[in-house]
């Protein structure tokens, strides 16, 4: 490739594979033009390296300058010193290399060496970005532009959905917009079917925007391929959302394991949780109904005695169960089970968004999300195992999107919830998670390390940044990039589905033009076809 097309920034002066490479800026490169997160290429003698700038500093060869710096009128002195005795350096983390024989065929490879002294450093060109991240095509979905560049940054979505993934960022940094875009991408590339637990009713029909008119949701853009389920019919009607199904939960659908997850929110004791299992064993499927009936029953004492449950524990449990039973979408028994309906839609290739309407209470969210996911996951697992045994194609991958993920995946419950299992077992059963959270430090470390691709907007708590980067090599470098992202419209993507981390500006969402582009399927490039043939 012709490097003269790219802007030369400086030359490599020192560095190591573990600590990153230090390059000195050329005297005509202004240190103010360099920003962390920029992608660069380094032309070594035999290989080309791709890396990211993660730190910039000002240096001087003579400490005397710090004692008597040029004064106000000494412009010439200052201009001479700039770039010579005083100069800028940038710290670069190399990620990929291209140039040895095998990488010419297989594309960029993970870096195992570093460029030699004085190798020139260039700003990555558009061709470089396309080489590393691929061109827009049937698999590669355009997610945005690398910082300060016009080239399209693409994400391989079929690869993306093979692992559980996470979208993180402080409140108001654009997580919802990013997620909505990813969901559209998954839908458009047909990489998987989505099941979205839409706590704030942002994805299905319409999404809100700060200081601007609302944006269209999935259903408005892809009416025939998306169905909206709702827990709160009234709210949906008021918002004029055309819903496909109103979800009601029967008490008989709730299992002790669902209650266990709600231990914290329902303020249940350990004993009360274990009592649920005894009740279930004793009373069968209708255990909740029967347990509630016990209260007013004179035989209560005898039953409790036989079950070895203390009166206080029982009262504690009843208080908790009452909270659930007061939820307007629960009733003792329902005819059409939501699980069956969701599965029916998912199996027919439709994407399902479950709106919570006014029931934004965390109890409702945890209960419904956990209950549905548990059943759907087990059904998916059965289907996958059967398909494997019969040598049939496996069911289409399923991506379950959950918000406020730390409520399901915190260290105290991650071991027990279905979400913890999905995050850990990954793609064995073609079911993965898309986790959205603003406090990633609240999520179990083991789960975090198992997430394949992470997309993070601005995070400023040290703990949150550390937990997002857990298990990542070159962690310290990315830390500064995450902390310096803009509060809006900037994100960093790294992990399984991208060859190297890259900071980007998500593509436009909300304008008439953007809707039109989302509606169009990208043209399949020739190279993509060839790749498929291989």
């Amino acid at each position: 490739m012709n490097q003269k097309d790219s802007t030369k920034l400086g030359v490599v002066v020192s560095g190591s594979l573990s600590q990153g490479i230090l390059a000195r800026l050329d005297s005509n490169t202004s240190v103010e033009d360099i920003t962390v997160g920029h992608l660069v290429t380094i032309q070594g003698n035999t290989r080309r390296f791709f890396g990211m700038i993660n730190d910039i500093s000002l240096e001087t060869s003579d400490p005397g300058i710090l004692l008597t710096p040029p004064e106000a009128g000494e412009e010439f002195l200052a201009s001479v010193l700039r770039g010579t005795t005083t100069y800028g350096t940038m710290q670069i983390v190399p990620y990929l290399t291209l140039g040895s024989d095998e990488s010419l065929i297989e594309g960029p490879q993970p870096v195992k060496s570093i460029p030699s002294h004085f190798s020139p450093v260039y700003l990555a060109s558009e061709t470089d970005i396309e080489l590393v991240f691929g061109k827009e095509g049937s698999k590669n979905f355009f997610i945005g532009n690398p910082l300060d560049m016009e080239v399209k940054l693409c994400l391989d979505l079929p690869e993306f959905v093979t692992r559980s993934n996470g979208v993180f960022g402080k409140s108001g940094t654009g997580k919802t917009f990013l997620t909505r875009m990813l969901l559209i991408g998954i839908l458009q590339t047909d990489a998987a079917v989505n099941l979205v637990f839409d706590m704030h009713s942002e994805y299905g029909w319409m999404g809100t925007r700060e200081k601007a008119s609302p944006v269209k949701g999935l259903k408005q853009l892809f009416a025939s391929r998306v169905s909206v389920f709702t827990l709160d019919e009234k709210s949906s009607q008021e918002r004029r959302v055309s819903t496909d199904f109103v979800v009601h939960l029967g008490y008989d659908e709730i299992e002790p394991a669902d209650i266990e997850l709600l231990r914290q929110t329902l303020n249940l004791t350990d004993q009360a949780v274990s009592a649920t299992y005894q009740m279930r064993q004793r009373f069968g499927q209708k255990w909740i109904e029967k347990a509630l009936a016990l209260e007013s029953d004179g035989e209560t004492e005898d039953v409790l005695k036989s079950l070895n449950i203390h009166e206080a524990t029982f009262q504690n449990l009843i208080r908790g169960l009452n909270v659930i039973c007061r939820l307007p979408f629960t009733s003792p028994h329902v005819e059409t089970r939501a699980v069956d309906k969701v599965l029916e839609y998912l199996q027919s290739g439709k994407h399902v968004v479950l709106e919570f309407g006014r029931y934004r209470d965390i109890t409702a969210y945890i209960l419904v999300a956990n209950l549905l996911t548990r059943r759907i996951y087990s059904r998916y697992r059965e289907n996958t195992e059967k398909a494997m045994a019969e040598n049939r194609p496996r069911p289409k991958p399923l991506v379950i999107t959950i918000e406020e993920a730390h409520k399901f995946l915190n260290p105290a419950v991650a071991g027990q919830t279905i979400f913890g299992t999905i995050a850990r077992e990954m793609r064995k059963y073609n079911t993965t998670l898309l986790v959205i959270d603003q406090r990633p430090s609240g999520i179990d470390e083991e789960v975090m390390s198992q997430l394949g691709t992470k997309i993070t907007c601005l995070l400023d708590s040290e703990k949150d940044i550390d937990s997002v980067l857990a298990g990542m090599s070159g962690k310290s470098g990315l830390k500064s990039v995450i902390a310096k992202l803009s509060a809006k419209q900037q994100a960093l993507v790294f992990g399984h589905a991208v060859p190297m981390p890259v900071a980007f500006r998500p593509r436009d969402y909300g304008s008439a033009e953007s809707y039109e582009q989302f509606g169009k399927m990208p043209a399949v490039s020739d190279s993509q076809d060839l790749e498929d043939l291989w």
Binding site: D62, G64, T68, F76, L77, V80, L81, T85
Partner: protein, 198 residues
């Protein structure tokens, strides 16, 4: 400027790194930092002028004051015509490079200039051509002279820059080169740069 008028002096003492020359005319000294040249067959040796002085021809005898009754300084010489024969103007040349086969080299020539070589002023074109490469600055900055070397370096750059079509670009480039040379001597660099006002 023809060749005869550009011939200003004659070498009276020579070494590899420099030479002393005596002016043909009293007080006809080249300015500090100007470029001069001596011929050695087809080739030339270029130098920068410094340490100019006018003194008695006899080392032990100092001139005495004679102008008490004269109205102007010129009258002193008019009334004492012998003075021009008893005094001499001299200057030192510090070698900055040489030419060989019509090409300039910015390092010391293989041999010093010959005694009694004629000393010529360089033309503007020659200076511009010679200073296209800034490598001569390393010989210039390492010169050992009686005057502070910062003064000589600054004067020379000022002089040469005036021979370029765009003096400020040349001065800026020379400044950058000096910053590389004085990478560990900021006070000296600062002194020189402050004498190169654009």
């Amino acid at each position: 400027m023809d060749e005869a008028s550009s011939r200003i002096a004659e070498v009276t003492q020579a070494s590899t790194a420099g030479f002393f020359a005596q002016c043909y005319e009293l007080f006809d000294l080249p300015p500090l930092g100007s470029l001069i040249k001596c011929r050695d067959g087809e080739n030339e040796i270029l130098a920068v002028t410094c340490n100019a002085s006018t003194s008695s021809l006899e080392p032990g005898r100092r001139p005495i004051a004679r102008g008490k009754t004269e109205l102007t300084e010129e009258d002193v010489f008019r009334s004492n015509p012998q003075l021009k024969q008893l005094l001499k103007s001299e200057f030192e040349g510090v070698v900055l490079g040489h030419s060989f086969n019509n090409e300039y080299y910015h390092y010391l020539p293989p041999r010093p200039v010959k005694l009694h070589s004629f000393v010529y002023l360089c033309t503007t074109d020659e200076i511009a051509e010679f200073s296209r490469s800034l490598e001569f600055l390393s010989l210039l900055t390492s010169a050992r002279t009686d005057i502070p070397s910062e003064e000589l370096v600054a004067a020379c750059i000022r002089f040469i820059s005036a021979c370029h079509a765009d003096p400020s670009t040349f001065t800026a480039a020379a400044g950058k080169k000096l910053a590389q040379i004085f990478v560990d001597d900021y006070p000296k660099l600062r002194t020189i740069l402050l004498r190169l006002k654009l």
